[in-house]
């Protein structure tokens, strides 16, 4: 049943449209005929209540996520490699990480505001917190999953410690690190929407949908949500494609 996957989305769209006729209140269930034009004109500023076009808001959100995500990766990957290789460092950091990890990224908002004030730094910090832990934990896991034999082969073939790191540990852990990046990006993308609800923010998809609510424009909320979902889906798709292309050996180690 190749086409079965399309059935539920179609039913949802039809059901939504029927509901919009019955309820007849665009604030509760706006007709899709008022949502689609917004999506058809992503460069237009005419539907977005003067907050800039959909594309502009999306690109700002992507930039914020990208920045927080890159900082998180730049800290989490080296730390994860060190923790995965050294029991000493792992014992040193592990308890603190286990303590901080269950705190939801959004619980950091007040502290972020206290430390960094209103602005980009606070947003990037929230995203950093969201992306950091999955990247770190997967990196540690990936480094530990590097087979002992792979390391020993390198040793017997005369590899130095640095070569073992660059030519065996990193490539061996790369698929798992990549999974961490993918999961981390997903969480970062969720965080950016909420982080854009911070006071003093005036752009971004998260801001846009909250702003639309204040004006009772539910159709714009729905359009914004669709864009948020589609962008998340596309980026995840790219991560998956790269995974299949570069790391197709995973699970086939022999």
């Amino acid at each position: 049943m190749r086409y079965l996957r399309f059935l539920l989305p179609i039913l949802l769209v039809v059901g939504w449209e029927i509901a919009s006729w019955i309820i007849n209140n665009p604030f509760i269930v706006p007709s899709l005929t008022t949502v689609i034009p917004i999506l058809m004109h992503p460069l237009s500023t005419e539907y977005t209540l003067g907050t800039g076009s959909m594309v502009e808001n999306a690109s700002i959100s992507i930039q914020r996520v990208g920045l927080g995500f890159l900082v998180a990766a730049a800290v989490a990957i080296p730390l994860g490699i060190l923790m995965g290789r050294s029991t000493l460092l792992n014992d040193f950091f592990d308890s603190t990480i286990e303590l901080l990890r269950p705190i939801p990224p959004l619980a950091w908002v007040p502290l972020a505001l206290a430390w960094f004030k209103i602005g980009l730094t606070s947003i990037v910090f929230i995203i950093f917190i969201g992306a950091f832990f999955p990247i770190l934990l997967n990196t540690i896991d990936g480094v530990r999953s590097v087979k002992k034999t792979w390391l020993e082969v390198a040793t017997t073939l005369g590899a130095k410690e640095r070569q073992i790191m660059a030519k065996v540990v990193l490539p061996g852990a790369a698929p798992t690190i990549w999974t961490g990046l993918r999961v981390g990006f997903g969480i970062a993308w969720m965080c950016v929407v909420a982080a854009e609800w911070l006071p003093g923010i005036s752009k971004g998809l998260g801001y846009l949908i909250l702003y639309a609510y204040n004006f009772g424009q539910t159709n714009l909320i729905i359009a914004g949500m669709v864009v948020i979902g589609v962008i998340g889906l596309l980026i995840d798709f790219v991560f998956k494609r790269v995974e299949r292309r570069w790391f197709s050996w995973r699970g086939l180690e022999r």
Binding site: T149, P171, R254
Partner: protein
């Protein structure tokens, strides 16, 4: 030109304060170009012995000398071939073989040409660009042999390299190994638990007792090569070696 083990011992910290003796007073001299098998029941410490010689484990007593020089740690004049999972799944066959040359800092073009020679030696030229998971178990072990030979070691240390293969492939690889041995005149130290394999391949078979592993008997195999497994002489030597192995596994039955 020879490998000399003098009074080699190894004990592990066992449960509580007890020391478990894995190897006890191993004295052995392997002549240059000789094919020697180390045979024993599982748990007799034969793999530990090989790992100590390869520099992957440390002896708790005794010395190893190669051509009169003491060896303590991995030595580029010896290469080890493991039972399985030793190829790097993210590298193509040719890049796996070139790994040791790459560690030495050889240029890409040069090391690939060199690797190709050894690929030819093991008859896998057509698979240069394939990945290990695309190869059968026998092919993968051929690649592992080529990778070890590529660094031009004096001694090949082989740890049950054909143990995971089916009987037919195993016999084929044994014959190929002998051909390669005759062509390259390497010294081979071959660990196995198969009496048949040891008698078929070796100039001498070293039978180890179990717990602690000590040399019970060194059996010279004077049969001309290629050896016929079904011959009467082969069978009688096999019987003789087997008796020693069985007695060393169950000393109470002596």
């Amino acid at each position: 030109m020879s490998l000399v083990l003098k009074n080699l011992s190894k004990s592990f910290a066992g449960e509580g304060k007890a020391q478990v003796e894995a190897l006890s007073h191993i004295d052995l001299e392997v002549r240059d170009g000789e094919f020697v098998s180390v045979l024993g029941p599982s748990g007799c410490g034969k793999t530990t012995l090989l790992r100590i010689i390869a520099g992957l484990d440390h002896a708790t007593g005794g010395t190893i000398q190669l051509d009169g020089r003491l060896i303590d740690g991995p030595c580029p004049r010896m290469a080890m071939i493991f039972q399985e999972y030793s190829l790097y799944p993210w590298r193509t066959v040719i890049d796996n073989i070139a790994f040791g040359l790459e560690m030495k800092g050889m240029e890409k073009q040069e090391r690939r040409e060199k690797a190709l020679e050894f690929l030819e030696l093991v008859g896998l030229v057509d698979f240069a660009g394939n990945y290990p998971y695309e190869l059968s178990g026998g092919m993968r072990q051929r690649v592992a042999v080529a990778r070890a030979l590529a660094i031009d070691p004096q001694i090949l240390l082989m740890d049950e390299p054909f143990g995971a293969l089916d009987a037919q492939t195993r016999n084929m690889l044994q014959r190929e190994l002998l051909e390669i041995w005759e062509k390259t005149r390497k010294t081979v130290l071959f660990v196995t638990h198969s009496v048949d394999e040891a008698v078929f391949l070796s100039d001498r078979v070293v039978v180890l007792t179990s717990r602690p592993g000590a040399i019970r008997e060194v059996v010279p195999i004077d049969l001309p090569r290629p050896r016929e497994r079904t011959g009467a002489e082969f069978a009688s030597i096999r019987r003789y070696v087997l008796d020693h192995v069985e007695h060393s596994a169950n000393p109470s039955k002596v």
